[in-house]
Amino acid sequence: MMMIFGKPAPLLFGQLLLGVINGSFYAMLSMGLAIIFGLLKIINFAHGAMFMIGAFVTWGLLNYLGINFWFALVLSPVIVGAAGYALERTVISRIYKLDVLYGLLLTFGLAQLVQGAMTINFGSSGVSYAAPDILSGVMNLGFMYLPVYRGFVIFAAVIICFAVWFAIEKTKLGALLRAATENPALVQSFGVNVPQLIALTFAGGVALAALAGVLAAPLYSVNPDMGSNLINTVFAVVVIGGMGSIGGAILTGFALGVIEGFNDVLYPPGSAVVVFVVMAIVLLARPAGLFGKVT
């Protein structure tokens, strides 16, 4: 058998694939964070909580209303996005004029509240959610067995990431959004309702987190901590990619997933820190991140 770094090659191919799957979640979550930060200058620490709520809404839709996974893929982001819209209008919008750190503290507090409330109601072990039957099998790829559902996650994540990147960077709507954050007074003078646009952007970022939550529900235990476990890594992804850079967040998310995957074979005890080691190295070499612009 071919060996790489003293490990069987098929094992490393397996890790590459698993890394891409984990990277899918990093990419989807960090993309939402990058949009909210890039356009609103809010460091949304509640992003992990929104991801978790997305998963719980998916579970609730099935268990209380009998609505299956495929409808939840649309409904859950819409529901959580609407909640995000209300949150932006009532709470977040009040702090735009303050230092960016207030946004961080506010969203951190909100995340703690939401997480605590969910723990009281559902316990910390959480609830289980089964993958849809059509995606529940296992594929034999030769070098590993891949759950069909995980394959689906990669597919979905790539499409979602590309669609969002395209919408923000290449369409008129995206240009309007970017203009509105750059110079809101000017854009408003053209008759655009800027506060509304900003609220919808926040709702969109939150909906993306919820969508990732829907995709995560069948993979992990749906529990109140599922977001807070990921959020530190996701912030590291945003910082490495360059804060506010959407394309950077996507590419970095996938790349870090792969690096983590290899690390899990070569030195498993280090898997919690490898992302932060990369972050430190990148910041030393490029203080604005890989794709960020120095302002």
């Binding site: 698993l18 620490f45 960016v100 498993p268 898997s271 919690a272 302002t295």
Partner: protein, 411 residues
């Protein structure tokens, strides 16, 4: 608006620190007043096997003891150790200095060991009901500590021994990389090797940050081992087993030995996936009429979480502590070693464990039960999850006292 990265990072760290709020104590009243501190994981991976239900169990024990009728004014306080030994030890020190008479629960072996040292230093009673490490009654034992419900010796010999006896000779371990996981893995490895088996691989993953076990599971799968030994607990075990199912590990014939699984974990996994798992607990709510009646009283105040063995230990430990205090008086009981000595002298008696005793090294002696998780069709009521396979008597459940290296035990 300009943001410096340094500002973001420092504020993030400050915000995290805000979450670590230390609970404060009420002023100590005169007369027969006592304070019991429940130090547990209230927010993390072990909060369902400890946490609020532990507090409910302590209060239930006080009610069943009739503390108020007997003139005791007992205050129950709680604190979250966040699975950090320094936070747990700091909390214990603060509590003991401000008059806490008994500290109880403490899931997480690293925190449990740290607090044992503080209890000895401050001479205060400490009942650990929820950490697994057998060092609490071994090299780290002291005159103030009682280890109640279970330990790594029990788990490795009961579950591990049963799997080896059933033909599972080659093992791959996935281990939570801290005091508990390492000890449980090492003791189980010894059982496997003593039974003629081999260990073909082991990965140690960082605790408590890990939620995705797929990389480790794929390594286990490619090792070709017959048994996957999970030397972890709580949500880690739930995630490991669910993900093992997704990767077709059990379907391909590999057996999973969950070395520490609580009923709350089975609830989180669901019977569809958990069915057939072999595990060991020293308490099961649906064991007999007394355990069922006790559980009914507890669940009235903990509706979403049934008691596991760790919770039962909090109940039984508190009840026994109160009996010992009653025997020697509140003033004498402010000495941890005095009240613990009294607890060792008296036989225990409660609805959770029946008539038992506490050994000189602080080991609560109870039988252990090897269970198999029911199929979904066999479960008739909520949380009706186990079939009893085998009972190991107390003397065989725990390591012989002379072999543990406890300095309290005279050679």
């Amino acid at each position: 608006m300009k943001v410096s990265r340094r500002k973001v990072v420092t504020t993030g760290a400050a915000a995290t620190a805000v979450a670590a709020v230390m609970p404060t104590l009420p002023a100590r009243a005169a007369g027969k007043s006592l304070t019991i501190g429940v130090c547990s994981d209230f927010s993390g991976t072990y909060s369902d096997v400890g946490g609020e239900t532990s507090v409910v169990c302590v209060k239930q024990a006080l009610a069943d003891f009739g503390a108020a009728n007997k003139g005791y004014d007992v205050t129950v306080i709680k604190g979250d150790h966040q699975n950090k030994p320094d936070v747990g030890a700091g909390l214990a020190r603060q509590w003991f200095d401000s008059g806490v008479d008994l500290l109880i629960d403490v899931p997480n072996s690293a925190v449990g060991l740290a607090i044992a040292g503080v209890a000895a230093e401050k001479n205060k009673a400490y009942i650990n009901s929820n950490a697994a490490t057998s060092k609490l009654t071994g090299t780290a034992c002291n005159a103030q500590t009682i280890h109640w419900t279970y330990d790594t010796y029990m788990l490795s010999h009961s579950t591990g021994g049963a799997m080896v006896a059933a033909g599972g000779k080659s093992w791959f371990f996935i281990t939570a990389n801290y005091a508990f996981g390492q000890l449980l893995r090492d003791q189980t490895m010894a059982v496997v090797k003593a039974g003629g088996g081999t260990v073909v691989g082991d990965v140690d993953y960082p605790f408590p940050q890990t939620t995705d076990f797929s990389s480790f599971l794929v390594q286990a799968q490619s090792s070709g081992a017959q048994v996957l030994g999970l030397a972890n607990a709580g949500k880690d075990t739930v995630n490991s087993i669910k993900q093992a199912h997704q990767f077709g590990i059990t379907q391909s014939g590999m057996k999973i030995a969950g070395l520490l699984i609580f009923i709350n974990d089975i609830h989180g996994i669901g019977l569809d996936i958990a069915q057939g798992l072999i595990l060991t607990e020293s308490f099961y709510w649906n064991m007999n009429d007394k355990t069922r009646a006790l559980t009914k009283r507890i669940v009235a105040n903990s509706p979403n979480n049934y008691p596991c063995m760790g919770h039962a230990g909090c109940y039984a430990g508190t009840l026994h502590f109160m009996k010992a205090v009653d025997a020697i008086g509140v003033d004498a009981a402010s000495s941890g070693s005095a009240v613990v000595e009294q607890m060792k002298k008296m036989p225990t008696s409660d609805d959770a464990f029946g008539q038992r005793s506490i050994r000189e090294d602080g080991r609560f002696m109870c039988p252990s039960y090897l269970f198999q998780v029911k199929k979904p069709g066999e479960s008739s009521t909520p949380w009706d999850y186990y079939n009893l396979l085998h009972t190991t008597p107390a003397e065989a459940t725990f390591a012989p006292v002379a072999t543990e290296g406890c300095p309290l035990v005279k050679a």
